[in-house]
């Protein structure tokens, strides 16, 4: 499945200045694993040493917070977009960065 992952501005320095990348994955966890495999420096910014998503890192699948879906096991399909947004002021309400572009 071709999934687009949006990389937040503060992390682009660790991702070759890219604002997004295409990965092939069937779940959010898979998409993030591919992202961090491609850009290894991103890993410590997104995950704890135990491999959990850091608690201020919010992930959205097409504007839906994965917290309210199946978390990292949420299934992705062709053409989906995964956005990574730092939790500032209580997180998002379903409109991630992508919505306003």
């Amino acid at each position: 499945m071709a999934v687009k992952v949006i990389i937040p501005t503060p992390l682009r320095v660790y991702a070759g200045k890219r604002d997004s990348t295409e990965v092939s994955a069937g779940s959010v966890a898979g998409a993030l694993a591919q992202l961090t495999a491609e850009f290894t420096e991103l890993k410590k910014h997104l995950f704890t040493e135990q491999g959990h998503l850091r608690s201020f890192v919010n992930v959205y699948l097409n504007d839906e917070d994965i917290r309210y879906l199946a978390k990292e096991q949420t299934v992705t399909k062709d053409g989906d977009t995964v956005s990574i947004v730092p939790s500032i002021a209580g997180g998002c309400s379903g409109n991630s960065g992508q919505a306003s572009r």
Binding site: T48, A89, G91, G97
Partner: protein, 380 residues
Amino acid sequence: MIRVSCGKLAVYILEWGGGIEWVVEGHGAAITAELRQRISKGQTQAGLKSGTYMGRGSLVSVPVVNRGVAQRVRVGESVLARIGNTPLLHMERIARELAQARDVEICAKAEWFNPGGSVKDRAALSMIEAGLASGALRAGKTIIDATSGNTGIAYAMIGSAMGYPVKLCLPDSASPERKKMLLAYGAELVFTPGDESTDGAIRRVHEIVAGDRERYFYPDQYSNDANWMAHYRTTANEIWEQSGGRVTHFVAGLGTSGTFMGTTRRLKELNPRIRCISLQPDGPFHGLEGWKDMATAMRPAIYDDGLADENLLVSTEAAYVMVKRAAREEGLLLSPSAGAALVGSLRVAAGIPDGEKAVIVTVFADSAAKYLNERFWDEG
């Protein structure tokens, strides 16, 4: 509302049912004398009958210009008069272990006692007052700025109380509660992509202002000296007075850097031996609202990196742990950035050499009220 300029003061003349009152933003008796002189020269509005002088935080005096008319003494005070003079809270339990081994005390300015709920009320009021004094803000203009939240709430509240429209650019990742609060105060909101953080919001303000310079008053909290001056004039002096001049260390996080710059400059004048320690997030990607990783973020013009005696990095995770501790051990619901300020203060306390006395003062920018939906409360 009509504004009359009077030296450095902003004088608001408010008309109410058949009467008129003056609200003076400024301090003290000199102001009263200056304004009285001006009124006696007939330079204010014709028909002024009586007035109430509201100095910031206190009723200064009630001069009667025309004794033929009954004077109206105001009861109560403006919400704006409640900005500043926040409590200095003593950390009773969290620092106890450290305090047993060393002679250290940790205190914090509880800035959620400001009417807008955060430290940003101070900077916003100071910048708006400076704009009124210089004429950059006048009737018909809209206050515009980029803000991750608290400064926006402060502008929205003050704009509403003074009668100026407010337009704010903010990342759309801001919480729904915060957006609703801004809208409730009547502010107009322009959303920018959440993944671009406040930097994206700043760029958007520049575009809007460039399109119609006459319409907007853009305080620009990142470049406005009135931002740090607010803390130079108020926060630092409050800390000095509330600690009885015993403060030895000042610790604060860097965002616009206004709190740290202003408070540090004044405290160093009062006692050059006070050590001032700035705090930053431990990387560009973090969850500390309002804080900036100076190495990678758009650097505020008011920031002077030579002012701090030391700079410490605090992780968002450490801040979250401290927020939970403060809730259960101190009865304080802190924001993540306030938790981070406490983490930094405890680290400073741990480094105090044996036999040295220390009174460490930090700033709790806001409370947990706007952050209760964050995931960390339910994790770990």
